[in-house]
């Protein structure tokens, strides 16, 4: 693999979303949703919880979705999807892919209980968290997915986010579910490969996609892919898979760059001092080292 950067491998198939969503220009979420649906195909039903994902989907009588799409209550995507899958099974339609589509708030925070319940039961759904690292559709409030040092409207410049981002993949790994992966909109081949792989597995599958957000991260809309790529290259958001909660596999990412390159490109990190940045670099290096150890512990090959 060449790090997923080659667009030649990116086969355009039937689009499963309509153009004209309510998303902001440069929205990473819409790119992710498009790829995820393309990889899953038409035989899919989507449950989405409150968040950008539900807002951008359009207002009656319009919708962006060409597949069945239900807006569930905030924080219940996993349970609703589990019920839907159980219903499909009982109706003899067990082959339908059920996708729970939730943001970081709907996953890390208000949805964590329902997510943990469905994961622990190993309910047969694909849960994708599109992570834009804050409550973006309500106007950029911090979530437990907000990274250390970030500005949001509830972590203003005088009091920037002072806790590390919750390690949701580690929490999910503790559930020993068959498949976990991180993915990026800047690595579409890798993303689609992981979704297709997840599709072929039975049980609870969790995909964590970092979706850069120009509105909340404060960068020009044209930079979404570039910023998504530097998140991966800097290893602040490394790409990997976890099989059965134990076997870690690193995905191809390209040569490591400094975290500063990622941070300086976004207004939300403007309040950081050099000392803060080197602290974040240390934390990133620590996590990256840990991940490499975990991957080396298994066979680590891919």
């Amino acid at each position: 693999m060449d790090g997923g950067l080659s667009m030649a491998k990116f086969h355009a198939k039937e689009e499963l979303i309509y153009p004209g969503s309510f998303a902001c220009p440069g929205c990473g979420l819409m790119i992710a949703f498009r790829h995820v649906l393309k990889a899953l195909g038409k035989n899919t039903a989507v449950i989405t919880t409150a968040g950008c994902g539900s807002v951008v989907a359009g207002s009656y009588p319009q919708t962006i979705s060409k597949v069945p799409f239900f807006h569930c209550s905030f924080g219940t995507a996993a349970a609703t999807a589990a019920g839907l899958k159980a219903g499909f099974d009982m109706m003899g339609k067990g082959s339908i892919n059920v996708l729970a589509w939730a943001g970081d708030g709907g996953t890390f925070d208000i949805g964590l209980q329902s997510l943990s319940g469905a994961a622990e039961r190993n309910d047969d759904i694909i849960y994708v968290c599109y992570d834009n690292e804050a409550y973006m559709n309500t106007g950029v409030q911090r979530s437990s997915g907000t990274p250390l040092g970030a500005w949001t409207t509830t972590t203003p410049i005088e009091s920037l986010e002072n806790r590390p981002k919750k390690r949701i993949t580690a929490i999910m790994a503790a559930h020993e579910i068959p498949y976990i992966a991180t993915a990026s909109v800047s690595y579409p081949d890798d993303l689609k490969k992981k979704i297709r792989k997840a599709k072929g597995i039975k049980g609870f599958r969790f995909i964590h996609i970092l979706v850069p957000c120009p509105t909340g991260w404060l960068y020009p809309a044209s930079d979404t892919i570039r910023i998504g790529r530097s998140a991966v290259l800097s290893r602040i958001f490394p790409l990997f898979e976890i099989i059965h909660g134990k076997e870690y596999r690193l995905s191809p990412m390209g040569a490591k760059i400094s975290v500063n390159e990622y941070l300086i490109s976004q207004g939300r990190f403007r309040g950081l001092s050099e000392k803060d940045i080197s602290h974040i670099q240390e934390k990133v290096d620590e996590y990256w080292f840990e991940l490499k150890m975990l991957a080396a512990r298994g066979d680590g090959r891919h």
């Binding site: 239900f70 569930c72 219940t76 349970a79 019920g83 839907l84 009982m90 339609k93």
Partner: protein
Amino acid sequence: MTGNDAAAMAAKMAKPQVVAAYPITPQTSIAEKLASYVARGELNAHYIKVESETSALAACIGGSLAGARVFTATSSQGLALMHELLHWASGARLPVVIVNVNRSMAAPWSLGIDHNDSLSQRDTGCIQMYCETAQEALDNILIAFKLAEKTLMPTMICMDGFLLSHYSEPVDIPDQADVDRFLPPRKAKYKMDPKNPFTFGGGVSPTVLFGLRKRIQDDMDHALSHFQKICGQFYRYFKRRYRAVEPFDTKGKEIALITNGTLSGTARAFVEQAGKEKGVGLIKIRLFRPFPRRELTMALKGLKKAVVIDRNLSPGSGGIFSQEIRAVLYETGQKIPVISAIGGIGGVDVTIEDLDRLVQRVREGGNLTGETIWMGD
């Protein structure tokens, strides 16, 4: 069998395809029974062992979206936890059937029965029925599935905790074949289907929402006639007749005791014993939402006083049933005094003697309109 056994039996006979429940006293034995029916292959369903009541109802909503028949049961705090999802189920027009085994709301903790848990859900758009006996619990649940699927409204069957859920009574169990004929498999007109994709529940304009709310009200109004029709069908199959409002021995009487739930049994015994002497009859309300205005007005015709016993309290206002009944009588111009009595909250026993004292007080008390009598006070 106990009320909970009857409820679990009814749920099994209705053949739900997705069941999701979370343990809570005094509902738990319904969830246990259903789990064992599924485990033993007596019920062909997915039983989702959820981690909360929120997820229980969310999973039922999901199952219902697939077109499946769904069931859950809960009590008290669990029902309160479902509150948001009850709005979701009714707004999405999903025929979820919920058994609520009534229990007081904390704080402080109590296992006693009152109806504040289900009445707190009054405005969610959920059909509500109350049961006097274990037989009614079984029958109401079968009726509920048919009514929910006909009206596309979630339907809740309320059973008094312990007094009904845990006491054993003789129950006539219908033949499965009759139940199958009375309640054929659900045919969902709208469902999630990749072959015919729709988006459900997305943003709407104020005008659209306004129209949808009016539609719910219209359909709730129609639900009353569907209820009557379904009860008629039920009678043809099972020879037990049910009505939204059930008067008992009110002819020629002056006072009507108005009750719901198991208290109706005690009131019935009181009326049998002393009704003639004290001029008292009974009106039992089975269906609370939609509120059976016309049936209630008819039942009260010729009576001089209505004494409503509320096993609930809306603090700052009073008994909920009495408010509803006053509103109906004001509308229809039936100017009889409605005396509100609060009794049995927290599972306090309401005995025949208590009823006797209440009636005595009403007979001697002159105009008690607008006052609230606390039974046992």
